[in-house]
Amino acid sequence: MQMPAPDTRVFDRKDQIVAQLRAVLPAAAVITELSETRAYECDGLTAYRCPPMCAVLPSTTAEVAAVMKICHDMDVPVVPRGAGTSLAGGAMPTADSVILGVAKMNDVIETNYYDRYIRVQTGRTNLSVTGAVETDGFFYAPDPSSQLACAIAGNIAMNSGGAHCLKYGVTTNNLMGVTMVMMDGTVVEIGGGHLDAGGLDLLGVICGSEGQLGVVTEATLRILPKPEGARPVLMGYDSSEVAGQVVTDIIQAGVLPVAIEFMDRPCIEATENFAHAGYPMCEALLIVEVEGSDAEIDAQLALIMKIAAKHNPVELREAKDADEAGRIWLGRKSAFGAMGQINDYMCLDGTIPVSELPFVLRRISEMSKEFGLDVGNVFHAGDGNMHPLILFDANKEGDLELCEAFGAEILKLCVEVGGCLTGEHGVGIEKRDLMHVQYDAPDLEAQMAVKDVFDPKWLLNAAKVFPLDASQTRRAI
């Protein structure tokens, strides 16, 4: 993965820059020793590492603004960081950058059940947002797999999704307002407890901008009343084509499950060996979950089971109680861990039209043979967001490169069939150089024009998202 050469004009002034940062932050909030900056050398995409010039951990929006102004005035690149769980390298530093971590900012500022929102500092973890309101019967809907660790700041930057977004939408559909610090230190307030933007939908373009437009320090998030209950059903099929058809039939029937999860045979085998969830050995497994009162769940599941039964399942199992529900989810939730136990893996997240599922799975399996690398598929089938896990051996020379080449081919396939490179993880550095596959030059130019407005000097997380050749002239300013 190519990254721009560090700017020596920045590096040569390290002492001066650090002194300025120390003048506006408590001593412990400025980290400069290599032994400590190493903690920030990568995020969840661990294949690529580079310690930053320094890291800062501000505690308030005012401190963030002070840091940003210094960096802006001294032309220092800034890489914002939430919890560092990005799978796309969104928080990976460059050697000439200041890592700006929001981890210390994790307070709940306001909970408002009447207007159904919570306002938090963005270093707060996703799960602890729900944690702050669940005893009062509410929850925050977006639920990325990393929700125990990932921060709202990163969720907003990447427009994170999760297993339940078929019904509840992704981050952008649940974000009502932000306090954001611009690169020049200006603090802006966008949206709030009311609905819909007054002017241009700036909130909409900030969400998912991968930390390139500003540092979001506070967020107003929609909270929803918890459903009365939820229940999953597990189905196994002999072919992924049939499973794909079941998904389509369920969706067309007018039921809107909160989640439809899919696993293929390699994933089922790996998770069975690992978690012993009692899954049937078959080509394709679906977990479909619905919500509501007991009576509502019964009615919805009756319809779903009827559709499922029509397609000759090898297994059809409805959870009778919380324990069985837990067992049905157990394998799915431990799928990544199970695959990781076999080998290193790369997790992709291209999205495809649901109708293309069987074709894409067949092609992936063919390509797996061509590249000589095993792949397991586990993903959100309801919305076509795939997660092929390509297994490789990081200690074997050339394997990572081979794996990346295979991954790139899968993502190109996703785009070819009408989908996209990334459904919920973001572009970061991982898919940066594939952006040409999905977007033509004017499309990328329009996106980069947005960054020009928010960050004219291109100092903020600049070597991400856009292919380096496309952003070259802008970054050179």
Binding site: L195, D201, L202, C207, G254, C420
Partner: protein
């Protein structure tokens, strides 16, 4: 001008020498744009409807009615329930899907499922320099690059002329019932509405009409589920009165038809529901309607009333939908600078619906 293709549109814009006034069906004369009329109605037709993937793609000039009828044939719908402005504005013509997107038009169901922008998956548009640009796509989850899709929704054509839009659509419902309380004052009605929105009963419409005294709650879904939730609502709302079944008329709520033919300015005000009753009382309106559980206030005010002057510390914004004052709520300086900067990038000559959002 009435381009018949995206390419032709691109050339027309590139060659334009003066301001262009972008028109879909011409049914939503919101804001004042000047210049030569540029109609999108030549760009019409549904490009793709894949019911099993809940996806519909259409050219921007496609009539909304055509889309709704194609969806209905497959038992699906645009869940955000786009408002039809014709009665309120006294306009004729066929609303287009591009117009719906350009103005981010939603209806009562917005409170439970989201706005037009939440269902918009992708756009194609021509910017002010004539560049053809695409963003997003036709799949439900897509974080590839910046989300210009949201930015285009509600931009009133000032960043580009939409040529194609793709949507997530949802299944229609088996049953719908509307329940109502009567005789509540505004503050109490909004309390009741808020209580239902904070309950697990999934109300898909919550509106209060102070003139009729009716506070309405809509439930949708499968028969058994609707019946169960109607019971739940009755218990929940018992402290507010007895919930009665009424004949649903959400089109009146959605389209604010009550204000048609009544003199005065019409304002659309977005506030927190908890601020709605006090705000509604202090703007000197002749009549108000509350939708979205109080989050949306429609106000009929004497001509020339400055509703924004009453905002004070209240967060939100007010749009003058019918009347001759400033249409859009002025933005704070740093946000106005960003918006101006974006317009300067996407429309460097300032020719697309110039001044419409000013």
């Amino acid at each position: 001008m009435q381009p018949q293709s995206e390419t032709e549109l691109s050339k027309m814009i590139a060659d334009a020498t003066g301001p262009l006034r972008i028109m879909g069906g011409g049914t939503r004369p919101i804001g004042r744009a000047t210049g030569e009329a540029l109609s999108t109605t030549g760009l019409s037709g549904i490009t793709l409807h894949e019911p099993g993937a809940l996806t519909l793609v259409a050219k921007a000039g496609t009539p909304v009615a055509e889309i709704e009828s194609v969806l209905a044939a497959k038992n699906q719908r645009l869940a955000f329930e786009p408002m039809d402005h014709r009665t309120l504005m006294g306009t004729t013509g066929a609303p287009t899907i591009g117009g719906v997107v350009a103005a981010n038009v939603s209806g009562p169901r917005r409170i439970s499922v989201g706005a037009c922008r939440d269902f918009l998956l992708g756009v194609r548009f021509v910017d002010g320099a004539g560049n053809i640009i695409k963003n997003g796509g036709r799949v439900m989850k897509n974080v590839t690059g910046y989300d210009l899709v949201k930015l285009m929704a509600g931009a009133y054509g000032t960043l580009g002329v939409l040529t194609e839009v793709s949507f997530k659509v949802l299944p229609s419902v088996e049953a719908e019932v509307t329940l109502a309380l009567t005789g509540l004052d505004d503050a109490t009605a909004i309390k009741a509405m808020s209580a239902t929105l904070g309950s697990p009963y999934e109300v898909t419409g919550v509106a209060h009409n102070p003139e009729s005294g009716l506070t309405q709650f809509r439930l949708e879904g499968f028969d058994a589920s609707v019946a169960y939730r109607a019971d739940g609502l009755a218990k929940l709302l018992a402290p507010f009165g007895t919930l009665e079944h009424v004949i649903a008329d959400w089109a009146t709520v959605r389209d604010v038809t009550d204000f048609a033919g009544r003199a005065g300015d019409v304002w659309r005000i977005s506030v927190k529901p908890s601020d709605a009753a006090s705000f509604g009382a202090k703007i000197g309106a002749d009549a108000v309607r509350y939708d979205w559980g109080g989050g949306l206030i429609w106000a009929l005010c004497p001509t020339g009333t400055d509703v924004r002057a009453a905002m004070g510390e209240t967060t939100g914004h007010a749009t003058l939908i019918r009347g001759t004052g400033q249409t859009f709520h002025p933005e704070p300086a740093p946000l106005a600078a960003i918006s101006d900067g974006l317009r300067a990038k996407f429309d460097p000559r300032g020719i697309l619906n110039t001044g419409i959002m000013g």
